[in-house]
Symmetry: C2
Subunit: 225 residues, 2 copies
Amino acid sequence: MGEIKIIEIKKSVFADNEQDANNLRKELKAKGIYLLNLMSAPGSGKTTTLIQTINRIKDKLNVAVMEADIDSDVDAIKIKEATGIPSIQLHTGGMCHLDAEMTRQGLDNVTTENIDLIILENVGNLVCPAEFDTGSCGNAMILSVPEGDDKPLKYPLMFSVCDLVIINKTDVLPYFDFDMEKCKKYILLRNPRAKVIPISAKTGEGVDDFANWLVNEVKTWRCEK
Amino acid sequence: MGEIKIIEIKKSVFADNEQDANNLRKELKAKGIYLLNLMSAPGSGKTTTLIQTINRIKDKLNVAVMEADIDSDVDAIKIKEATGIPSIQLHTGGMCHLDAEMTRQGLDNVTTENIDLIILENVGNLVCPAEFDTGSCGNAMILSVPEGDDKPLKYPLMFSVCDLVIINKTDVLPYFDFDMEKCKKYILLRNPRAKVIPISAKTGEGVDDFANWLVNEVKTWRCEK
């Protein structure tokens, strides 16, 4: 499979992240590439979810992944080994989020030729990544059952910026006091337009729904003016 | 039980947080109050762990709790209702961590008379809180089994600044691929002096060990010059 490319991300010098993010989205649109910004708390199962999902869509879309982490390259290696798609590791050097310029540094180092979808796995954190527009075409997050159904009350901004909330680890619902209906209600309180998809990346339950959502998102976004 | 006091924390104006944190520690020492900074990812079980632990030590130590969150007051209410000890809520207004000045704003609003131990439940985040000295006398963190045994590799700073790492939710070990020995090895790689205590806040297993650690910490710290 070859070695994993590790990019050491530098702090942004741009003052206006919003403008920079809008420019990046325009550039992606011109290239026909959909960039998904995937966020979550540490340990919610982002990497396992991606592996399961990519293996379901890679015959329909050409996908690449950028794995952002403060340190380590375990995720990029896992993705590459389990799916065979291009995957690079971004090291944030202690920084807790990515903004548009940092995302661009990653994009400069990932294959973009014939690519339809690039997934950015953001730093595991429910606070800071929500505050910075990465220039992505869509935002999704994973909340996992063991984290508790009250998280939309505690991390309001994260839930309000996401088009999709995946609720992962439904296979362990019997062992946790997690009220799915209450959780959905809290999510919709924060963001009435959010789509909610419960899945178990471990058993595969519900992963097709996320895969279909992704394929549809890429198509719809390409048709939008 | 009365209403929960909610303090809206303002951003710090001090440039030198390290100096400010050292000053705060000296003031706490003069008052004989031990301040514990408890950190973790969202949903690791900080509040449940505190309730279980406080009910075991409240006849030995007078305890107060400051619950920091971006929003909501659910944790402070839970603590007060389940333990009867003084508990206040700190709202960080979107900020992802507390520094020494922000901690001081909380301390100005919590009962300190005859108090031996104040526990600061920091914002749920494995990145930013590790970077800011709160002025606490000790740092502890909770990693929960569902988050995975690889977290010390991904969030190195958090594990290196903590005197104690609690591994919570051991009751669900059978349902997750979590290797306790591997996790301990990774923690000690980051921080050879870290104490590791596995617990289940749900079943109570191991909570006595954390309670004893806390009581001993407060005693030792008071004896130190």
